[in-house]
């Protein structure tokens, strides 16, 4: 009996060493588990370059602010199309041919100075300082092609869309605005002429959908091309 007791509780010093080791291992394990969870969430839930601009309440006070002057670009009364489409902000984007039905976030400008992106990989971002979809000018929306684990983002298969495909923008009040795809093209991400074309577009009521494509550029942590789908308001 004394031997058994000695085996289970050899000495006070041994018991203390046992406890220290276990606590150390538990601490390290907890740390690893935390890092695992943080990495997983970071890679799959938080998109890079989210909106850094001011909120809607401050739009209009352009003096001294970082909001571009094209903010709140509204059509002049004489520009309102005959269709009398409602001037309502978008709420959802639907592309039936790609099985996309996504929530629309209203985004501004990211820290990089580029159009901001949604703060997750499943929503679509609408450039809120630009044109409201359906109004004359170019409404711009963006979405991720993939996330930090290379899993599909909302626009993963946007490249497969065909000319003539239907795109619907559902407004906050439930109106459905129909667009038809007229062009699909990829541009180098450093091509500044594309910026103007997209954000200051003319020639009707246009909708641009943007996502990444091409090869990864490690230095800039982005893809080297942008896929831009142009759609025209359907009459």
């Amino acid at each position: 009996m004394p031997e058994t007791a000695s085996f289970c509780y050899p000495s006070t010093n041994m018991t203390r060493a046992y406890d220290t080791k276990t606590i150390g291992a538990a601490f390290a394990t907890l740390l690893m588990a935390t890092l695992f969870v943080v990495t997983l969430i970071h890679a799959t839930a938080f998109a890079p370059d989210p909106d850094e601009s001011m909120d809607d309440a401050s739009i209009g006070t352009t003096s001294g602010s970082s909001i571009p002057a094209m903010a709140s670009k509204q059509p002049a009364p004489e520009q309102i199309p005959a269709s009398n489409l409602p001037i309502e902000k978008p709420s959802r984007l639907s592309i039936p041919s790609l099985n996309i039905d996504a929530n629309v976030q209203h985004v501004g400008i990211g820290k990089s100075g580029n159009m901001a992106v949604p703060n997750n990989f499943t929503d679509v971002g609408w450039y809120r300082y630009g044109t409201i979809p359906g109004q004359p000018g170019s409404a711009v929306m963006d979405g991720h092609v993939d996330n930090g684990l290379a899993l599909a983002g909302v626009f993963k298969y946007l490249r497969t869309i065909k000319k003539g495909s239907e795109i619907y923008v559902i407004t906050e009040k439930g109106s459905r605005i129909r667009f038809l795809v007229t062009d699909i093209a990829a541009y180098d991400y450093t091509d500044k002429s594309v910026d103007k074309k997209v954000f200051s577009g003319s020639g009707g009521s246009l909708l641009y959908l943007i996502t990444c494509t091409g090869d990864w550029v490690p230095g800039n942590k982005t893809y080297d091309h942008r896929l831009i789908v142009t759609a025209q308001l359907a009459q």
Binding site: Y18, K21, T22, G24, A25, A26, A28, T29, L31, M32, A33, L35, F36, T39, H42, A43, P48, D49, S53, T62, G64, S65, S66, P68, A69, I109, G110, K111, S112, G113, N114, M115, V117, G125, Y127, D142, H144, V145, D146, N147, G148, L149, A150, G153, Y189, K192, V194, D195, V198, S200, I210, T211, C212, W216, V217, N220, K221, T222, Y223, R226
Partner: protein, 161 residues
């Protein structure tokens, strides 16, 4: 056993460092000539009109500011007022060009006006992908997952013993 624990702790530190570096590198992008561009030069323009001191015809001209590495912003302003006030303003942030001017008419010289902001900014195309960091993220997940699993097994074994 002590050596084993120390090794585990060192591995943990290594992975934490790796994870921190990866997380830090997540946000970056190339700038364009718009707001928020950190690589651009600072704003050196003056937006306010100068004071008319003569009371006669004069011209106020203020220069625009420049922000970002993209398109330059060259605001110009100032026209001639007739014996009075000219309000010249300029330039917003990161725009292409800003122009503004108001010519005043009247009789009293010596009035100054504050400039107005007029700029046009075109943001750059968005950065809509993160797949290039997948390899690093997956490696981090594997390493931390394996270490956490091994740690849990070790603790379990110790507690049973």
């Amino acid at each position: 056993m002590k050596n084993k624990t120390i090794s585990m702790l060192m591995a943990a530190l290594l992975i934490i460092t790796l994870g921190a570096a990866q997380a830090h590198a997540q946000t970056s992008n190339s700038g364009s000539g718009t707001t928020g561009n950190t690589s651009g030069t600072s704003n050196t323009g003056t937006g306010d009109a100068t004071t008319n001191t003569s009371g006669t015809d004069y011209t106020t001209n203020s220069t625009g500011s420049t922000t970002g590495t993209g398109s330059m912003n060259t605001g110009s302003s100032g026209t001639t007022g007739t014996g009075s006030t000219s309000i010249g303003g300029t330039s917003g942030t990161g725009g292409t060009s800003g122009t503004s001017s108001t010519s005043g008419t009247g009789s009293t010289g010596g009035t100054s006006g504050s400039g107005t902001t007029n700029s046009t900014a075109t943001p750059g195309l968005p950065n809509t992908g993160a797949g290039g960091t997948a390899a690093m993220n997956i490696a981090t997940l594997l390493a931390t997952g394996i270490l956490a699993g091994a740690g849990a097994m070790y603790i379990r074994r110790r507690s049973i013993a």
